[in-house]
Symmetry: C2
Subunit: 457 residues, 2 copies
């Protein structure tokens, strides 16, 4: 079976952990593993190939995290220049595989804590998929949630899809035993889905076929920007599932959570005897039921209960638990006053590795740069800044002007303003470099790329 | 009049703002000014010379902060190699001035919000001081505080000094109208105090005279370490005031606070309409009566009340307001597990300026170094690390081995492991340097000083 992983989520509901350029599925929340990685791992046993649909900006992060798992199941990446909701993403994946292939479609940013129940549900779903049904998974509600859509079912037969209910309706759904949360997971054969799409959303189907045919189809498949724009945006629920009669639902109780807020994150992570969720480097005196996520800093609490404390290098959130929905109000305010805090972390991921801003002063900037083994930055130049490079770990291969030379650990070089240069790691270990930039303008947009391995010119 | 400022306080009750090497009187809590600076400013009008008694480790900080005020009243510094409580510190100051000089003695870490009342009280105290009295100042209690000593008075006559009371006694003191908080401020002529000391604590008097005679008496006067150790440690209250009959007390209501906890800091700082005390770069949604002290990072709160949130580059404290006394328990725990967090900030002050640790990795370290105009580091070498220096602002004069040369902005140099070197700022502006250290051991104790302007060899 092919497992299609949808990485399109780009929310900031877990701000300041998640940022526009660093959505929550990539944050290492679970002992160094991300939700995306956990999704890969939980699907290994039944997958012959992963089809990973991801925004092109996040491709390198997804690829890095996939590679770090060192799994033997291969992955193909489909890069979207922009999101058009779930139906087109799934259609592109269906076009990428053989028409007779079974597909399991899963989001990358959900948590499933009962994997046995998950496997049982998938096995059951495949029985229907092989009989040309469109199968969805219904999560048994644990509370009267008003934030999700519901599926009403009789056994495995879909009676109807229901919009997000009001509180009273949600309570009746919870009591009924026939209503299930719409989990966003699906199972079907590729041609079953594409035929249903052609029937119920023919324009979308046509646009997706054109986009797929008009794009490079290797891995990563890069969907052409204009063709992607031409695809109508819609969810698989609206575009197909709610209109088709060939649907089935597998009710399941698999410890599912969409981790859509810090409240659900708190519930999903292990609590100590005081009910606190925290990292080992924190200290809690007479404090209870707090969620504390710390990056590098030491955090101490005294006599506080039911708080969410989220500590990142450039932003701190202290919220009451249960108020997680108001994070969006903070993000909305920040988008006006300090948009960079909603957009990117001090550590920014790049196709060749990452950089971390250590100091950002008006006329100089200091970065730690990590270049992955075998990766290199673009051949580039800057109009307004000079750069000093010091290798502190690994070994660099450096181009400055006409010269190319190795730069060993504890060696440095200088790139004058306007000089063409390139940083290359030809070794099998990470290259770590300290870069001091000096100049009157130090914005990331002061860059002219002349040659680039990552097609960013 | 000479104003003697006692800078001996070294507590960590305001941790993580205050650290052992950075006591609270030096933290810029008030629009960029510290309590020490506020103390200088409030005493300018009646002072012909400041006598500043400070631990030698904190001298450069006190001197920097004094100089930054650009006041015309001169200051003399007396550097204690270790603290011996208030009586010896005041005795050394009394020995430093003329015997007929009037002295006003004030702590450096208290806040006084009603400066008119303060000036009125000082005027009244001087009348008694000129008549050879030992004058103390009694603060009119605003609540039944059990953490302070009290003075019982009839008018300006001291009836008795009282130890820290229990709650019931403190309530009776509050009701009496005759009991005042012992503020730790004094006024007397130098010879009045020295005579009283010779009478009531003759060994201390003798040891102080020996220490003063045996030390360099210029500014800064550096008290000899062995002679300082020989002085019995005691407070002025126990050693002199409680034993003397030549005492007066000036009752005053001057908006006094010792800022001994975050609770009193909250009361002392301006609150917004929601009762929050915070910096402008923070955002508070439906949050009330919180004390938020942020360094550089953005802080957001949601639906939280009555919290203390103290954000520093390497440690975060979140406490309930009213639980400030438990900060000492956090500090006690940290002294075992992470002592450096109680000792020093990521920015460390040095006689020549300061350094800030930007990155501290196992085999490399990055610092921003600021060298004051006209200052230079010691001529030094390191056994285990090489250093790369990049000038990002100002102009350096650098010694590396046999060579001495200028290093301009946007220039760099390299100091191999074991090589003698020196960093010197001969300009009238700060020199800012990025230093990348590379080596197997990067501790601050890997230093051999060959020549030093600050007598640290």
């Amino acid at each position: 079976m092919k497992t299609v992983i949808l990485c399109g989520g780009s929310g900031t509901r877990l701000w300041p952990l998640s940022r526009t350029l660093f959505p929550k599925q990539f944050y290492p929340l679970f002992k160094g593993h991300s939700l995306f990685q956990r999704t890969i791992e939980r699907n290994l046993s039944h997958t012959s190939e992963f089809i990973i649909v991801v925004n092109q900006e996040q491709y390198f992060m997804a690829e890095d995290q996939f590679r770090a798992l060192k799994v033997t199941v291969p992955a193909r990446f489909i890069l979207e220049p922009e999101g058009r909701n779930t139906a087109p993403a799934i259609a592109l994946a269906a076009l990428a595989v053989n028409s007779s292939d079974e597909m399991l479609v899963v989001p990358s940013d959900h948590l499933i804590q009962n994997e046995t129940a998950y496997q049982v549900a998938i096995k059951r779903a495949r029985v229907h998929a092989q009989q040309n049904q469109l199968v969805t998974f219904g999560i048994k509600p644990t509370h009267a949630e008003t934030g999700y859509g519901y599926i009403e079912a009789t056994g495995e037969t879909v009676v109807s899809f229901r919009e997000k209910p009001d509180t009273q309706t949600a309570q009746s759904y919870l009591a009924s035993g026939k209503h299930f949360w719409n989990s966003g997971m699906f199972c079907f054969k590729a041609d079953t889905f594409l035929k249903a799409l052609a029937t119920h959303a023919p324009k979308m189907h046509e646009a997706c076929v054109l986009a797929w045919k008009g794009s490079s189809q290797n891995s990563p498949a890069r969907i052409d920007s204009a063709l992607m724009k031409a695809i109508p945006a819609d969810s698989i629920d609206y575009a197909v599932m709610e209109k088709s009669r060939e649907t089935k639902v597998i009710p399941a109780d698999m410890g599912w959570s969409d981790l859509g807020s810090f409240d659900s994150l708190y519930e999903a992570l292990p609590q100590d005897s005081d009910g606190n969720v925290h990292d080992p480097q924190t200290l809690h005196l007479n404090s209870h039921r707090n969620l504390v996520v710390a990056d590098k800093r030491f955090v101490a609490t005294i006599d506080v209960d039911d708080l969410v404390i989220i500590d990142t290098p450039d932003a701190l959130l202290v919220s009451r638990r249960g108020s997680a929905q108001k994070v969006k109000d903070v993000v909305a305010a920040l988008k006006v006053t300090k948009p960079e805090l909603t957009h990117i972390h001090t550590t920014a991921h790049r196709p060749w590795g990452s950089y971390t801003i250590l100091e950002d002063a008006p006329n100089f900037k200091v970065k730690r740069i990590v270049v992955k083994p075998g990766a290199r930055l673009s051949l580039q130049k800057h109009a307004h800044r000079s750069e000093h490079w010091i290798v502190v770990d690994g070994r660099a291969f450096v181009t400055v002007g006409e010269k190319t030379f190795p730069l060993e650990r504890n060696e440095s070089t200088y790139i004058p303003k306007g000089e063409v240069h390139r940083l290359d790691n030809r070794e099998s270990e990470d290259l770590i470099l300290i870069e001091a930039q000096v100049g009157s303008y130090l914005g990331e947009d002061d860059i002219v790329r002349l040659v680039d391995d990552y097609k960013r010119i």
